[in-house]
Amino acid sequence: MLARVASLFARRGYNIYSLAVAPTEDENYSRITIVVDISATPLEQIVKQLFKLIDVVRITELDPRKSVERELMVATVRADGDQRARVIEVAGIFEAKILAVGADVLTISLDGEPQKLDDFEELLRGYGIVESQRTGRVALPKLEREARKGATKGKAS
């Protein structure tokens, strides 16, 4: 299925900014969350072309203002001498976790809203990022105010 979606995007020339895919709560279905660049192509066209794929059952457009988004980043940063303390301080401020400690590098992971990751990444860049990897955004629609009171676990509508 992923191959079909990627293939569609490639041949129609739609730009994928990030992509995350995994099985859902129902084992028959998997969910792909794509961040797409709509400056070149209207979102409506992309959605309609995706629907033409026989295996696509549902498409939800997640407006960042109305959804809950998360992303995970893992980065190895230069942290020798004085820098180490400073890096650890920044990590602490962002509530990031230190995963590994080397002689002059630290590996840090941070999960949170994409914007928070962007800010963190920019700060780390100042210290020198050796290598980093982001997972791609996952998102679900924000619950409506009333629904939040009676929200139950299980399949969303």
Binding site: A3, Q45, K48, I54, V57
Partner: protein, 585 residues
């Protein structure tokens, strides 16, 4: 308790095809698909053995074009599957229902670069409406049911089913999925056929209130069997009609409301009527670039009603004022009802007689034209087409390849019945003509099938005439031999300062000898005196295929022409009409 019936995957495949009412299929056996060819011997399905898998694909297309039923092709793995890419892509571009079965190496060998292995599903992913690799014999009936369902519903298209050799050899318990089972297994596929009532009413109002309306008919009208409904709409409101390259025959050329084909090589009348319209009612059409010319300059004053079964076409090229997703026939029938209701309530149609007489004026002033050949010079291709047209038996299906001959065929022939014209529009596949003609004849054996071909196109797929001969599927081929790749030569003449690069096909082959070598009657026509007798002879032969080589003028150009990237207003007319150009407004 019902008895369990154990079949091999191959037997299940053949039986599934029979259950889907397949009467003929086109194919060529090979290693991986071999198991399927054994039960075929006892089957009611007729198998046409081709000489190139690409031929099988185009034959399946030709069959589908004229019957509306899905064309079926079966080939083996590897090179055979890759040979199907062109016909699949062609069917995909023109929305032709087609089911292609390909063999594949055993499931245990997949991914090991085995003999005749290729990633068929990966390779054909972007040229099929859907495709699937079946991993268990048990899944074969459902895979076939799904394939036919997807190919023939919604916007028709090609579907490929890839069957590994061991899956065909393994046994399974026979079962035939019900319609409900099929629906349930495809939760993501729910084509919309019924148009939204409010949109339909809007369309009806717009049709009544527009002063310069045009009905823009595309291939979808034929796919939906909507010709009758469309005719009712056109006659009810007396709206001028144009038929695209894929819709020729959807509205009779002889009808007073028909203004022919629009597009890059359309008639000046059709092109201009669309440009000047204040309403374009697009039925089963997709605003293809060959029709719109420069999109920003296309039909600048027109409101758009867009009826199409594919939601993705709405707004893809031009934003519609009234988008209607649905089956063309059902929607047009509802529009007719809505219009009649409005008229009954006292609404009146705006007077469009000034518009109609304006359009008729163009038709009078700018008919299709060509200069007759000089005495002793080579025949004009348009003249040959006119002769073929006037002598064609009733119930003739015309097939064409791609190029100048295709444009002249579409323009000069008179299509008064739907499903009488077969050509490759979207992909523009040279070599389409001969195999598609054979497929068409296999689907409509009662009809006469004339295939117009260029000398370039003929050389790509002529070998399938051997298939025609051995299988007794008799077609008539007219080669308009101008010894050039005509359309390319025209562009080089017009846009590359007559710098002719790699378009000369002269010297070879001898088409008549070649035809005879393939068991056909070969006839050569070089002068006007020979033409009538040659065509009459061709039309009288019914026990063999006929190839008539017309030696035609090399440097003839197709007019009108809208140069690529230009606005339709910049259409180039035939040189003899350019002086009257100011009247084309």
């Amino acid at each position: 308790m019902s008895k369990k019936e154990i079949l091999t995957g191959a037997e299940a495949l053949i039986r599934s095809l029979e259950m889907e009412n397949v009467d003929v299929m086109f194919g060529l056996p090979g290693g991986c698909i071999l198991p399927a060819y054994d039960p075929l011997l006892k089957s009611s399905i007729r198998h046409v053995l081709v000489r190139h898998e690409q031929g099988a694909g185009h034959m399946a297309q030709g069959y589908a074009h004229v019957t509306g039923r899905p064309g079926v092709a079966m080939v083996t793995s590897g090179p055979a599957a890759t040979n199907m890419v062109t016909p699949l892509c062609d069917a995909f571009m023109d929305s032709i229902p087609m089911v292609c079965i390909t063999g594949q190496v055993s499931t245990t060998a997949i991914g090991t670069d085995a003999f005749q292995e290729c990633d068929t599903v990966g390779i054909t992913r972007s040229v099929t409406k859907h495709n699937e690799l079946v991993m268990r014999a048990q899944d074969i009936p459902m895979a076939i049911r799904q394939a036919f369902h997807i190919a023939t519903t919604g916007r028709p298209g090609p579907v490929l089913v890839d069957l590994p050799k061991d899956v065909l050899q393994n046994t399974m318990e026979w079962h035939w999925p019900t319609d409900e089972d099929v629906q349930e297994a495809l939760p993501g596929y729910r084509p919309i056929t019924k148009g939204h009532p409010r949109m339909i009413k809007e369309a009806a109002k717009l049709l009544l209130s527009s002063e310069k309306p045009v009905l823009y008919l595309g291939g979808g009208v034929l796919k939906a069997h909507a010709a009758e409904a469309v005719r009712e709409l056109a006659e009810l409101l007396k709206i001028p009609v144009v038929t695209t390259l894929m819709a020729r025959g959807a509205f009779p050329d002889d009808h007073e409301l028909c203004y022919g084909m629009p597009g890059m090589h359309g008639t000046a009348t059709a092109i201009t009527a669309m440009q000047k319209a204040d309403l374009l009612c697009a039925l089963g059409a997709r605003f293809d670039d060959r029709v719109t010319g420069k999109v920003s300059a296309f039909a600048p004053d027109a409101k758009i009603i867009h009826v199409d079964i594919d939601p993705a076409e709405q707004g893809k090229v031009r934003k519609p004022d009234v988008p209607i997703v649905g089956d063309c026939r059902l929607v047009v029938e509802e529009i007719v009802k809505a219009v009649k209701e409005l008229l009954a309530e006292g609404e009146q149609q705006v007077d469009i007689t000034p518009w109609r007489s304006r359009v008729n004026g163009w038709k009078e002033q700018f008919p299709l034209t060509y200069e007759p050949s000089e005495p002793g010079a080579r025949l004009k291709p348009q003249f040959c087409l006119e002769k073929l047209r006037d002598a064609a038996p009733k119930n003739t299906i015309l097939v064409a390849g791609v190029g100048q001959h295709q444009m002249w065929s579409s323009l000069f022939w008179k299509f008064n019945e739907p499903y009488s014209w077969v050509n490759s529009g979207g992909l523009g596949t040279m070599g389409f003509s001969v195999p598609a003609a054979i497929g068409a004849k296999a689907g409509r054996p009662d009809a006469t099938v004339w295939a117009i071909d260029g000398d370039g196109c003929f050389q790509m797929t002529a070998q399938e005439l051997v298939t025609a001969t051995t299988e007794g599927i008799h077609v008539k081929i007219a080669i308009l031999n101008n010894t050039y790749l005509g359309m390319v030569r025209q562009w080089q003449e017009m846009f590359y300062g007559e710098r002719y690069s790699e378009v000369d096909l002269s010297g070879c082959p001898d088409f008549v000898k070649w035809a005879e070598a393939m068991g056909c009657v070969g006839i050569r026509v070089e002068s006007p005196e020979e033409i009538d007798a040659a065509i009459e002879k061709a039309n009288s032969i019914n026990d063999r295929s006929v190839v008539v080589e017309f030696r035609v003028e090399e440097f003839e150009k197709v007019f009108p022409m809208v140069p690529a990237g230009a606005s339709n207003d910049e259409v180039l007319l035939h040189p003899t009409q350019e002086s009257r150009r100011e009247f084309l407004k």
